[in-house]
Amino acid sequence: MDIRKLALIGALAVASLSTLWTSARAEEVKITVWSLDRDIQPAPNLIKDFNNLKTGITVEYRQIQFDDVVSEAMRAYSTGQAPDIIAVDNPEHVLFSSRGAFLDLTDMIAQSSVIKPDNYYPGPLKSVMWKERYFGVPKATNTIALYYNKDMFRAKGLDPDKPPQTWDDLVDTARKLSDPAKNVYGITFSAKANEEGTFQFLPWAQMGGGGYDKINAPGAVKALEIWKTIIDEKLASRDTLTRSQWDSTGTFNSGNAAMAISGPWELDRMVKEAKFDWGVALLPLPETGSKRSSAMGDFNWAIFSKTQHPKEAFKVLEYFVSQDNRMFKDFGQLPARSDLAIPSTGQPLKDAALKVFQEQLQYAQPRGPHPAWPKISKAIQDAIQAALTGQMSPKEALDQADQKIKAVLG
């Protein structure tokens, strides 16, 4: 209560000072932008370039920490101190749009010559939508695919150009590649009890014909059974249950796992650390010919509904979007757009990997969108963990998750 009050007084003081400041130079419109980008990432750099254009709009930037994005934004919104523009993680976007905290951009997008919905991958685009209206613009995107160690494939007599295509294939390959004597696991991924676990499991459930709203579909149960086989047969480390994707893929880079499921954010580190020939493949399917699916990560831009300058804020967003072609080259992030060709990086392994990720992105599905996504995600994480620790069968665990999710969905 006390800290809250102090913060409020402080914020008020800052706000009154800044209103004085803006009224002193009334012709300039000031737009504030919050995101988690550090100095080598897009937002601060794009803002610097935008301010240099002298358009009569000045953008001020504030960096917030990943864990604080939602709580900071909520606090700011409920005390009337919200910024004009914010970047939020895509599963949390609808939490704000469904409560009217974000501005409906549909009409402005319809008139815009820069932001065109058709240019975007369907997954990221769906994550900014609520009730068929646009409440934001995808900032960047990512997805997951299967990394594999080609040298280990060769050593075990497998064809390095034929990565596993189906789930059974994947388990078989993992069995062949796993080598406990040399401390090599067949595969590594993350089933951690946070959003990462959901992020990794949901694509499997979707490929099996399930989804967050029918998490106990037979295909999803099969998926969890496959995961359980992998853990029970020690084809992946038991620490998969508590390890993040980044740490898990670290064991792949050091040669302690022959395959890894993770996203393009691993590429730069892998190019540097992995002392072997590797490749990336699309996620294996339940059986040949099944529908593909994948996870979708990264952030979206949105404008707060309480902004004083919606038009100017939208202009800033248009500028960000116009710079999307620099995203990969300058900042190593994938734009959420299918109309942009990504130029070569000069790293053959990285370029080949990118092609796969771009194809995988076609099938990327957002988590949700649903205003109570964290609760849905928690139910899924609990099910994964209950099944993998052997406390429940995959079917029981997912049935229970389904009940919990149905209660949230109402």
């Binding site: 209560m1 006390d2 864990d67 939602v70 709580s71 909520m74 606090r75 919104y77 409920s78 005390t79 939490l95 409560r99 905290a101 401390n183 951690k192 009890a193 946070n194 480390s237 038991r238 620490d239 998969t240 249950l241 508590t242 064991t251 302690n256 964290p374 609760k375 928690k378 609990d382 963990q385 209950a386 993998l388 620790t389 406390q391």
Partner: protein, 300 residues
């Protein structure tokens, strides 16, 4: 009027004025947040009503939902296990070390000081180090156990539901030993030496001296340490965040971590506040024990 003035300058009024300063401080810094938390546990709170204080009143609904959740009882049981095991471990090892250093061999006080290093380190750093020690495939602890022939396979300390809570307990015991040791050393040094000399002349052996002199003389110190230990272990959050994150499948989840998870990961602030209120009750009991045991302290 004159009496009132006199009382303010030198008398009851003066005492009250002096006492009121820390009381006001305590009330604004600790009392208000506490009350706010309790109020929140009876309200319906979501992210967008966080900034206000007048929110829909829901009575005991938060409490009934909490106790109808399947994970509630296992988590409360984990909390009790964690607290008891941590305090027992910290206290017994801490006491043993304190007695050891009490013998005052050369360099004893110097080494005792070094032990404080573990207490000074931030919990997240300690967690990160233990994370590495306890890791299943390449962990140091597994290596030591395997080399000494105690185990044959790997123990997945962090990921096996049978071990995950104990993994955090081990790290927490390590973290708390030095604090217990220092406080107990202080307690030991206040025991007059002549008591031991007299007992020795009467023919009491080491064990008898320990149980008839040391333990009774340390009563208030021990009471204080155990209640402080209860408060510290109930506050222990960093280690859970760093080592197991409450997993797998809540097998190492405890009330304090769960309250944070509900509030800031699932944005269910009311439910988080409800758990905190339940914990406040336990900490209150510990505080009463603490205050009572220090009240009897003999100051030489």
């Amino acid at each position: 009027m004159k009496r009132l003035l006199l009382s303010v300058s030198d008398g009851r009024g003066f005492d009250i004025a002096l006492v009121s300063v820390p009381l006001i401080f305590l009330f604004t810094m600790a009392g208000l947040p506490l009350v706010y938390n309790i109020v929140m546990s009876f309200q319906e709170v979501d992210m967008f009503s966080l900034g206000t204080i007048f929110r829909p009143f829901v009575g005991l609904k938060n409490y009934t939902t909490l106790f109808s959740m399947p994970e509630t009882w296992p988590i409360l049981k984990n909390t009790a296990l964690f607290v008891i095991a941590s305090i027992a471990g910290q206290f017994i090892i801490g006491f043993a070390l304190a007695l050891f250093f009490w013998t005052n061999f050369p360099g004893a006080s110097w080494m005792r000081g070094l032990f404080l290093v573990s207490w000074v380190m931030p919990g997240l750093v300690v967690g990160a180090i233990w994370n590495w020690i306890l890791s299943g495939d390449f962990g140091v602890l597994n290596y030591l156990l395997r080399e000494s022939g105690l185990i044959t396979g790997h123990i997945f300390w962090r990921s096996d539901p049978d071990f995950s809570l104990w993994a955090v307990v081990i790290a927490n015991i390590w973290l708390g030993i030095s604090f217990n040791m220092i406080l107990l050393s202080v307690g030991l040094s206040t025991i007059p030496q002549d008591l031991y000399e007299a007992a020795e002349l009467d023919g009491a052996n080491v064990i008898q001296r320990f149980f008839t002199i040391t333990l009774p003389m340390m009563r208030s110190t021990i009471g204080a340490i155990i209640s402080l230990g209860l408060i510290f272990t109930l506050q222990q959050f960093d280690l859970f965040a760093a080592i197991t994150a409450g997993g797998p499948n809540n097998s190492s989840n405890v009330a304090q971590y769960w309250a944070w998870d509900l509030s800031f990961r699932q944005y269910d602030f009311a439910q988080g506040a409800t758990i905190s209120v339940i914990m406040i009750v336990f900490v209150m009991i510990a505080s009463v024990v603490y205050v009572r045991s220090t009240r009897h302290e003999v100051r030489g």
